[in-house]
């Protein structure tokens, strides 16, 4: 019953969007997908996968397919701030068969500094035009932290030498929805690591509007595309966690759905890279995996079109979708334990951090982990 009313709601939202003018009358996404050699069946299979990722029942697949087909009704502006372009890189590698990339190619990516052909004055003009023409309608995605306040290293962009902060604020003002793509725009990112020389900060700190964070360094392509599809489907903000991350993607810990979770429960740990445990796929907690403290769907969605993810490659999660993981999740190859630096607690320990970030369950987890680790130590001492 609940599902049927949601289905109707989403359905009418999509019908409304369908009536909006297309950005390019010559091309349609469905025609394009067909031209590129994808059958309807392949497209529906892709839509089915997206439906499941968005935590919707399988019966919603036709709606997700419809959402993808009308994605060209909503213009998208993608801004770069202080960053490494890794998020764009992640996006540029979205799924083969390239349905995601086809969609991104043709949804009126009105302004994207890395992949657009324009440069210089023309680029700035494009941005200005897009923001005027689609006032109140465009989706804003921002990649990168915002250097702000008293800093010698203001980021300036464009021929008029605007600061990054000014550009971002201007773009936020008339956006229909604002997404901070990646840990940099969500939380400040690597440039905000101690001592944060550029005073880099999160996008949400420089605007009064709601910013939905899609962190990860980089986030997987499916989380980026899923965020867009979710907005098209619902037209409203998704359910968010304490850090404004969509719950459909960041509701669970890496640890919850980890392929090595059984090893953890059995107390089987890699004690050192290259040991027998590593060869047999044991749990990576003791060589520094931060999966128990990290909320993301990497263990399910993986990266590079589901090819792999860090834990599969034998290296623990480093917590890249958590705020300030640079400073708070070290040392990289050791369990979180009591080794914390540059925190307000002066490195008091994992339990203190768990309290600070307000997710009480982590405290319990930390104790659980300590117990597991202790058992394993008794069973298999490190040499």
């Amino acid at each position: 019953m609940e599902n049927s009313s949601l289905f109707d709601k989403l359905s009418s939202r999509l019908d409304e969007l369908s009536n909006l003018p297309k950005l390019d009358d010559e091309v349609s996404i469905s025609k394009l997908i067909e031209e590129k050699g994808f059958s309807r069946r392949e497209f529906m299979t892709w839509a089915g996968a997206m439906t499941s990722m968005l935590m919707l029942p399988a019966s919603f697949t036709p709606l997700v397919a419809q959402a993808a087909e009308i994605a060209d009704r909503l213009p998208l502006v993608w801004l770069h701030m202080a960053e490494c372009t890794g998020c764009s890189e992640s996006l540029l590698r979205s799924a083969t068969p390239s349905i995601d990339s086809l969609i991104f190619d043709y949804i009126s990516l009105e302004y994207h500094e890395t992949i657009m052909a324009a440069a210089g004055w023309q680029a700035e003009q494009n941005l200005h035009n897009a923001m005027q023409k689609y006032k109140g309608r465009y989706i804003l995605m921002v990649e990168g932290g915002i250097p702000h306040a008293e800093s010698d290293y203001f980021l300036t962009i464009g021929a008029h030498g605007k600061t990054g902060q000014e550009s971002a604020q201007e773009a936020c003002a008339d956006a229909a929805a604002i997404f901070a793509i990646g840990s940099c725009s969500s939380f400040g990112g690597v440039q905000a690591a101690y001592p944060n020389p550029t005073n880099a900060t999160a996008l949400s700190n420089i605007t009064n509007k709601t910013v939905i964070n899609v962190p990860g360094c980089p986030p997987s392509e499916s989380n980026i595309v899923g965020t867009l599809l979710h907005f098209i489907l619902y037209g409203t903000l998704p359910a968010l966690d304490v850090y404004n991350r969509p719950k459909w993607a960041y509701g669970l810990r890496i640890h919850d759905a980890c392929e090595r979770r059984g090893r953890f429960d059995a107390g089987e740990f890699v004690e050192q890279f290259g040991d027998e445990g590593a060869k047999n796929g044991y749990c990576l907690y003791k060589v520094g995996c931060k999966g128990p403290y990290t909320f993301n769907n990497c263990s399910k969605q993986k990266f590079n079109q589901g090819t792999s993810w860090p834990v599969q490659a034998g290296h623990g999660c480093m917590g890249c979708s958590e705020p300030d993981f640079w400073d708070k999740m070290g040392i990289v190859h050791e369990p979180l334990g009591d080794r914390l630096y540059h925190t307000v607690f002066g490195g008091l320990g994992a339990d203190a951090t768990a309290d600070k970030i307000g997710v009480g369950i982590l405290t319990v987890t930390a104790i659980g982990i300590a117990a597991h680790a202790a058992i394993s130590l008794v069973k298999k001492p490190k040499e």
Binding site: A82, E83, C84, T85, G86, S88, L92, R93, T96, S98, S101, L102, D105, E113, T114, I115, A117, A119, G120, E124, P147, Y153, L155, I157, G158, A159, G161, G189, V190, Q191, A193, Y194, P195, P197, T198, A200, C217, Q272, F273, G274, G281, K302, F303, N304, Q305, T307, S308, W309, P310, V311, A313, G314, H315, M318, W326, G330, I331, V332, H333, Y341
Partner: protein
């Protein structure tokens, strides 16, 4: 007269100064920095493995390799298995290859008035990224290379997957870029006897628009990254010497830009695929250099030729992997007890990347990163131009100057580290 172009894959700005309708000086400015070197100071050595790949999302893997090798060079007697060395080299090759595709189809195409080929850029780079992901877990920003080896325990099946991705990429190259078998292309020694793929289309465009010979600079090349394929050395005109030292590489600050200049024995050198090919004495590139010098034509051909070379070389490397060897060999002492200094040089897509580190009881005292674009885009003076500056002097059209500038495959993301 000053004209400005900005947004050159990031935040670089060019001020063109004209005299009698010809460019007589170009000021290259980088208007921002992220100060990663200052962030590294005071952090634990292994934090660099997390932070440095984030210097650049476009060649982050090269930064991971440079970091791990710089830290390893702080040890006196660190041992790596051949398996670990080959695996690292493979993933670095794949990163170079996928970068070259994106540069060609996303950046270069529109400069010749053609539509950007997004799907042609993404398809082969996706394949190469997957090949990296099979070994390293994800791309960009892997973390699988660790001090002492690699974290991955790959299997025969993983190698089959990687071989499959190489084969698919080769197929793409043969069907699109070259329209000829890769093996035939690799044996070509005459720059005028190319076939009719996307590569030739662009090269013909250069000939037809009478741009042959444009973009010449000092004809001085350098390369420090050494592995089973690339040789270390410098080439001045065509004279190659391999006996060069990083001691002679100097970084210096300039007032007009946040990016530091880089020189070798106080002279500016070009880095990148053309430099590597000149130092490796690759016959086709030597031929094109003989005909057209260090021009945009040679630069483009050298970059694309490297795709085929590296794919072929990677196939050979896979055959040499002995899976029974260890992936990781524990260093003799814990890094937290280590004091000393080290450096590394690896070949990234755009040229030589250098990392230097100083450790005191495992804490980073100093960290210096020299990126390839710093070499090519050093902002020299009117009397002593940087490499790209010199290549643009004398041109009368800003659009052509932009083409020359971008033939160096500029990456300002790295440069504003």
């Amino acid at each position: 007269m000053i004209k400005i172009i900005e947004k050159i894959e990031g935040e670089a700005k060019l001020n063109f100064n004209f005299k009698e309708n010809k460019i007589d000086f170009v000021d290259v400015e980088f208007m921002s920095t992220r100060n990663i070197e200052n962030i590294l100071k005071g952090k634990r050595a292994f934090d660099a493995l997390v932070i440095n790949p984030r210097v650049c999302g476009i060649c982050g893997h090269a930064h991971l390799m440079a970091t791990v090798q710089a830290l390893e060079s702080c040890y006196d007697n660190l041992i790596l298995s051949d398996k670990a060395k080959i695996i690292r080299e493979l993933t670095l090759n794949f990163e170079l290859i996928q970068n070259h595709f994106k540069w060609f189809y996303l950046t270069l195409y529109p400069l010749f008035g053609k539509k950007q080929q997004i799907l042609k850029a993404t398809y082969p780079s996706q394949l190469m990224s997957k090949a990296i992901a099979v070994i390293g877990g994800q791309y960009p920003h892997t973390s699988y290379a660790i001090v002492g080896g690699v974290a991955c325990e790959i299997t025969e099946i993983d190698l089959i997957k990687v071989q499959h991705y190489i084969a698919q990429t080769l197929k793409f190259v043969e069907q699109n870029l070259l329209k000829v078998e890769s093996e035939v292309f690799l044996k070509t020694e005459d720059a005028n006897s190319l076939y009719d793929g996307d590569l030739t289309e662009i090269l013909d465009e250069i000939k037809n628009s009478e741009l042959l010979g444009y973009g010449k600079s000092y004809d001085r090349f350098i390369s420090f990254g050494e592995n089973s394929f690339f040789k270390k050395g410098k080439s001045v005109k065509t004279k190659v010497t391999h006996n060069i030292s990083l001691v002679d590489v100097k970084e210096s600050q300039i007032t007009s830009s946040f990016a530091k200049n880089v020189s070798f024995k106080d002279k500016y050198y070009e880095v990148g695929p053309l430099s590597r090919a000149m130092i490796n004495k690759t016959p086709l590139i030597i031929d094109v250099h003989k005909k057209y010098g260090d021009s945009i034509f040679s630069r483009i051909l050298a970059r694309i030729y490297e795709i085929s070379q590296l794919l072929e070389h990677s196939r050979g490397l896979i055959k040499k992997i002995d899976l029974s060897q260890p992936s990781y060999i524990e260093p003799s002492i814990d890094i937290s007890k280590l004091s000393g200094s080290g450096y590394s040089a690896v070949e990234a897509a755009r040229g030589t990347l250098i990392h230097r580190v100083e450790l005191e009881s495992g804490i980073i005292k100093n960290y210096e990163i020299i990126t390839p674009t710093q070499w090519n885009l050093s902002g020299g003076t009117r009397e002593n131009h940087g490499v790209s500056q010199r290549a643009m002097v004398g041109l009368s059209d800003v659009k052509i100057a932009e083409l020359v500038f971008k033939s160096f495959d500029v990456c300002s993301v790295c440069t504003t580290h």
